[in-house]
Amino acid sequence: MSRLRYLVVYLSLVVALLLMILPLPLPDWVQIYRPNWVALVLLYWSMALPKRVGLWFAFFTGLVLDTSQGTLLGQHTLALVIIIFINMNFYHRIHVLAMAQQCIYVFVLLLINQLIVAWVEGIMGRTPPLLSFSGGPLIGMLFWPWVFVILRDIRRKAILK
């Protein structure tokens, strides 16, 4: 019965993935600003339920993300495992901070995530568009308060600890 409640975690990740693969008829320069919703949602759950949403969770989420994004298997996996690992060491100190400070923390983690993905692309000889890769994390940071509030309400409704 209690396992069933954790469905909301998976559902929220599915919704995040939907947001990422939704084809929007936007010009190229706007596409770059689309945030990594999956990383954002995963970060929330890793802060709220650190015992449930850990490294293995990040690993499998990364695999799904790699498949849906057409990147090398392991690329997003590596990035997500690393930022979730960082978060596991810091979340105690973070969730007492003010929202604005949390946003900066989230920005840094999303940027690390993006840097790792871009770094692997660079190794494979695809020149990443410089400067533009901080766009996604920036927009992701601006959405963090909403993601946080929405997921917190969902978590309270589902009584997840």
Binding site: P23, P25, D28, T67, L73, I82, F85, S132
Partner: protein
Amino acid sequence: MKTLLQARGASLKALFLVVISITMMVVDHRFHHLEVVRTNISLALSPLRYLVSLPVTGGSWVGDWFTSHTDLLNENAALKAEGRILNARLQKLEILAEENERLRSLLGSARKIADDVIVAELLSVDQNPYRQLIEINKGSSDGVEIGHAVIDDFGVMGQVIHVNPQSATTILISDPEHAIPVQFVRSGTRSVAFGRGSTSQLELRYLPATADIKIEDELVTSGLGGRFPPDYPVARVTEINEDRVRGFVTVFAQPKARLDSSREVLVIKPRQ
């Protein structure tokens, strides 16, 4: 002490997963053993892809529902008129095609005029800014195979690089890893057009400075390399950069296909 051990355990686990990730990347880049994993996850994700394409399909359905009677009548009349004109043109085209075939047989070359096509729809667009990939809703069960060319009503879009039973991944001609053999219609010069990661520009490198190229020249597939069928429109020349020192010309061209907005595409099956 216990927390210390726990912390060390987490670090070890993280390290282990990092090593696995890197190994997977290397294996995925060099070999094809991980295609199975990719295909299975992709299969599990296919309902999501359909869900994602729903708003657009649903939107057009609702739009159809609310179209007024007069609009429909007008549209019907316009379509009929267009149909008549197209029919007339088609007759002419058939005669020309026959003539072309006859001339070709006279010349002794056996080039096929028509190819088999599969109509497909766009399921999703890859968000990765370094790649230009799209997902279409026809797969191996519909006869789509790796290497098939994909076009829209304006020109060549790309080629299939991965097939699942119900969907296929297509690399666009604008992907930085993609190159397509082309030919200038006016002068017949052959070249290769490279993607640059932007849907509005292809690049033709190292053309001889003496080549006969002008702005607005049309590029079509040359059919060399055997991947793309010949004579499909690819791009139009927009910019010519001359490198006087090295004696080369770099040409930029805008793809004819609407790479970022086409929803209906055709997969071309080469006839055996």
